[in-house]
Symmetry: C2
Subunit: 281 residues, 2 copies
């Protein structure tokens, strides 16, 4: 998907909501377990109930891989189903990959190519530790995106991401932003910035005023949507805010899709107000 | 596998060779393409021809994932086949995973659990950027190992791994060693250290004298085995040196397994001399 299409979808849907498909088979409603593919049945119902409210979906690869081959079938079917919404929905493989060049090229093929084997995602999350040649093979695919980890929402973010560079006086996550933003552009790179550190968004916007940010951690992880919008929004919105458990596991009963829609609608209405306030819609 | 068993295997086989199963379907001998599962047939032949010379095998996940569900079948079959050698062969999922705690826990299940879904590897490579809670879920599995990225062999290693911490004066990769070595022990953690930077092994050994190192980059990536042994070997050997393309793609003809054995034998003989020189065997 092109950046212009993503921005158009945000304006039309009055939403910058990304729904995380962390579809843990142990947490989905038990009545689905009689389905041939319970996880796909769950994802399909969630997508059907929310695709007018969300601009993006983000399957978390770990929840599929942990089920082995069966999990890859559920993921492949989910992506095949999402294809009908490819003009209106941006897809994110939350996979945190990254390896030497020839290996990252293979990962890029896994996530970006279509056909029998490929998953045809719009984007993939990538870890920055190994540097430029672990990232650039993903950028070679047209209209596909790298979403690079910058400042994550977890406790362990403080272990290394706040190490201050003796030479520049910048934190490691700022070095990641500064250096990697020259590898691609605002048209094929985004950054992961955790909502639990929303006050850092001002610093982040100094380095990358125009890039989109993927913001996890609103809801279950404790971040505030208002703070994210206050500090992080730019003229194109520039935000995709993810919610996983708060939406997909809103109910464990037969009404799970309806309840997911209710919760997604609540978030979307807050987002519409923020977009209006900022003059974007 | 326990550390004591790994050390015993190194002494018995007089080898610290890890063979990388970067089994690219586009590079394996073409006569195998008529097999039901060409990549598994290739891996099986390589394992059969070399398992007395190698102490570890390292499938590179990207080359399996890029083939989608068919690739996961090849990987699963390879791991099921390797199980007969579980006492004598250490297995490494070269996957470079790492995510927030509940997600890393799922990845750990994918790689460490057995049964229908799990792959039952002895170890998995993990990226350190997200810190402690991205690593510790892997350490909760008994007799399983984290192999954490420290100093990688690629060009991009210079982008962030050599950032010097203003407070400590240490490089980022040294901070990774120093901090993460308290999360586990020499009995469940190893580190990836690229052979192209063998001169840095002295520095690395100051931080982690006792841990095993997984060393890629000998051969195709230009590193020297002698330099790795000189700077990196400790009293338990403490090294697993990986070779992928130099062994598995030694020939593209019907003699590929025989040629792989010849090349593995050459490396093993060099390793035996180094182990003898060091007084380990």
């Amino acid at each position: 998907m092109k950046r212009s299409a993503l921005v158009k979808n945000i304006k039309q849907k009055k939403s910058f909501l990304c729904i995380g498909l962390d579809s843990d088979i142990e947490k989905i409603p038990t009545h689905l377990l009689k389905e041939e593919d319970p996880v796909f049945a769950f994802n399909k119902a969630i997508i059907d109930a929310t695709h007018d409210l969300a601009v993006a979906y983000k399957p978390n690869l770990a929840f599929y891989e942990s089920r082995g081959i069966a999990g890859w079938h559920s993921l492949k079917k989910t992506m095949d189903y999402l294809r009908q919404f490819q003009e209106s929905v941006f897809s994110i493989a939350d996979a945190k990959r990254g390896d030497i060049g020839n290996t990252s090229k293979q990962y890029a093929r896994s996530f970006f190519e279509g056909g029998d084997a490929g998953l045809d995602f719009d984007s993939v999350t990538v870890a920055p530790y190994m540097g430029i040649d672990s990232v650039s093979p993903f950028l070679a695919f047209e209209n596909k995106w790298v979403i690079l980890l910058a400042l994550t929402s977890n406790e362990g973010a403080f272990d290394f991401q706040f190490i201050k560079n003796e030479e520049s006086g910048l934190y490691l996550f700022e070095e990641v932003l500064r250096k990697s933003s020259t590898w691609g552009s605002k048209d094929n790179m985004m950054y992961v910035v955790g909502a639990t550190k929303a006050e850092m968004l001002g610093t982040i916007r100094k380095h990358i005023p125009d890039h989109f940010l993927l913001v996890p951690g609103v809801g279950a992880q404790g971040g505030s949507l208002q703070a994210v919008a206050d500090y992080g929004m730019n003229d194109d919105c520039g935000l995709l805010v993810n919610s996983s458990r708060g939406i997909i596991f809103a109910s464990k009963e037969k009404d799970f899709a309806e309840k997911a829609r209710e919760n997604a609608l609540e978030v979307q209405e807050q987002m519409a107000a923020m977009l209006t306030e900022k003059g974007i819609i």
